[in-house]
């Protein structure tokens, strides 16, 4: 059916959108309801003065009724059909589809436009990863230096009697290459870090929110003294590029404010100075739950706490919702973390405080004092399943760390091959 024969369908569609009865429109246009009914079912052609009158009542341009959906929409629908890769039997009825179901047609066209945009983004990112000259140069440098070190070290280790001249030369090369490797590795890490910064973070709300907290050292004096609200801070944060990041940051700041009101900085500071960091004692003293204490301890300035502190919060799926990094304790940026973290022990034992000394594998492995607990996110109704979240405070320099529990960051980068908790192979082939 041609576009201009669907004027009646468009009149009906527009009338229904406005919630107008047929008799009402007929009266306003000076025609009978039965005649309008014939027009709306495309059984009478309409034009001229009557079309102008009906368009006026419906509040649209006459051409919107006579020409229907815009040519661009039709064109997009044709593109969508062509790109689908399957024969579309009703392609010749695209005008009719757009005319009779303009809302659905627009949904389809918008979906097609979005797919095209996303495909372009995927192509750009893939191309960037594959051909980015900076990334390629950095990776090439790292691998070439690693190759040189491997060959040289192997010669030194495996060649029985090596002439002093060669030995000295290889020692010198090894020294040069190890320096180059540290430089090129640092450049690579720096490149990857920069890659995820600023506007490029768009679309990763959690990263934006964490970057915002990081910029503020995880402490917000304006919330502590009441000179700003979470809304103010989230609204004015220039680092937050999207609504999702703003909303997420707002929720985190609300939690921050609630914890700060429960455990005011000055009083908390006095308690820490007097009795040290004892979360259970602090929970009793401030008459609050352990989760609030653990979160709050990670939010006070380092000079108040007397040491650095990291924090992780997860939901019932184990997904990390919040990360405050701490030196020496690796946290995965993406994907799941190590299931051996005390955080997850706490998650399966709600309301039970869990304290473990842990150590992560690595060249400079250090022990951490981890305190965790899980709490019910909200009081469930009868018959409703409770939802839990867990929090873990991570303090460097565990006391009494004679036999710390080995943990990792995530399976992909954990060298501990024979781990009962391993869920996927590691990219690291050998123990450090």
């Amino acid at each position: 059916m041609a576009r201009d024969t669907l004027t009646g369908s468009r009149i009906r569609e527009r009338r229904l959108i406005l919630g107008m009865r047929q008799a009402e429109l007929a009266r306003a246009a000076g025609i009978s309801a039965s005649y309008l009914n014939l027009i709306e079912h495309n059984r009478r052609r309409i034009g001229g003065k009557l079309l102008v009158g009906i368009a006026g009542v419906l509040g649209v341009e006459p051409s919107m009724l006579s020409e229907g959906a815009e040519a661009a929409l039709i064109s997009t629908l044709r593109e969508a059909a062509a790109d689908s890769g399957v024969p579309v039997a009703e392609l010749d009825r695209v005008d009719e589809f757009a005319g009779r179901f303009p809302g659905w047609a627009e949904v389809l066209a918008a979906g097609h436009r979005r797919i095209a945009t996303l495909e372009r983004t995927v192509e750009t990112l893939s191309d960037r990863l594959a051909h980015d000259p900076n990334l390629a140069a950095s990776v090439h440098e790292v691998l070439s230096t690693a190759a040189a070190i491997r060959s040289t070290a192997s010669i030194l280790a495996e060649t029985g009697e090596l002439e002093p001249e060669w030995r000295d030369r290889f020692h010198k090369n090894l020294n040069q290459d190890s320096l180059r490797l540290s430089e090129s590795s640092r450049a690579l890490v720096s490149f990857l870090d920069e890659d995820g910064s600023g506007a490029d973070r768009r679309g990763m709300p959690q990263e934006e929110a964490e970057a915002f907290f990081q910029e503020n050292d995880f402490h917000f004096p304006a919330l502590e003294d009441g000179s700003a609200t979470p809304e103010d801070l989230a609204r004015d944060a220039r680092a937050l590029t999207g609504e999702a990041a703003r909303s997420l940051t707002h929720a985190l700041l609300e939690q921050y404010l609630a914890d700060a009101q429960t455990l005011p900085l000055q009083e908390l500071s006095r308690e820490i100075t007097g009795a040290g960091i004892n979360p259970v004692v602090l929970a009793e003293r401030f008459n609050c739950g352990l989760p609030a204490v653990l979160r709050r301890l990670a939010a006070v300035p380092e000079e108040v706490l007397g040491q650095e502190a990291g924090l992780v919060v997860c939901d019932a799926s184990g997904t990390l919702l919040f990360r405050k990094p701490v030196t020496g304790f690796a946290m995965p940026r993406f994907g799941a973390s190590c299931p051996l973290w005390p955080l997850y022990t706490a998650l399966v034992n709600p309301n039970v405080p869990v304290r473990r000394n842990v150590v992560q594998h690595g060249r400079n492995a250090a022990a951490f004092d981890c305190m965790a607990t899980a709490w019910m996110q909200k009081q469930p109704d009868f018959g409703e399943d409770p939802l839990y979240r867990a929090v873990m405070l991570i303090l460097p320099g565990a006391k009494d760390a004679q036999d710390p529990q080995p943990v990792g960051a995530s399976c992909r980068i954990c060298p501990r091959q024979a781990c009962p908790a391993r869920r996927e192979p590691s990219i690291l082939k050998e123990e450090f």
Binding site: L143, A146, A148, S151, T152, I155, D177
Partner: protein
């Protein structure tokens, strides 16, 4: 008669390690760093085998191999390509260009030695 290899690699310490290994294995090693002059160097040296880096200043390893393969007397010259790029697509491109064997960095000395000996034997010169 001594076995002769031309090594085109812009990483001096890799060159030194490979030179040491191959010399101990009885090879004479002619090492160069510049991709632009590589074809000429190889043509003049007439080696038993070529070890070539993929990413070289002046001209890429793939271009060098293509140019070599275009010459009648270089068709069967064994070429071992060393590269930090080990994706399937890179391997396919190398194979298409005429590379005899492809080895990704970082490699072990044993792998290099085995590859060189195998290629030499396969070429019927061992």
């Amino acid at each position: 008669m001594g076995r002769h290899v031309v090594l085109i690699e812009d990483e001096p310490n890799i060159t030194e390690a490979i030179r040491f290994l191959l010399m101990r294995d009885g090879w004479s090693v002619d090492a160069h760093t510049d991709g632009a002059t590589a074809v000429e160097v190889i043509r003049n040296a007439g080696p038993d085998l070529v070890i070539l880096d993929l990413m070289l200043p002046g001209k890429s390893g793939l271009e060098i191999v293509r140019e070599l393969r275009a010459e009648q007397d270089m068709q069967s010259l064994p070429v071992l390509m060393l590269t930090a790029r080990g994706q399937m697509r890179d391997r396919e491109m190398a194979e298409k260009a005429g590379v005899t064997r492809f080895m990704t960095k970082p490699f072990s000395n044993a792998e290099v030695l085995t590859a060189v000996r195998d290629l030499h034997a396969q070429a019927g010169q061992g």
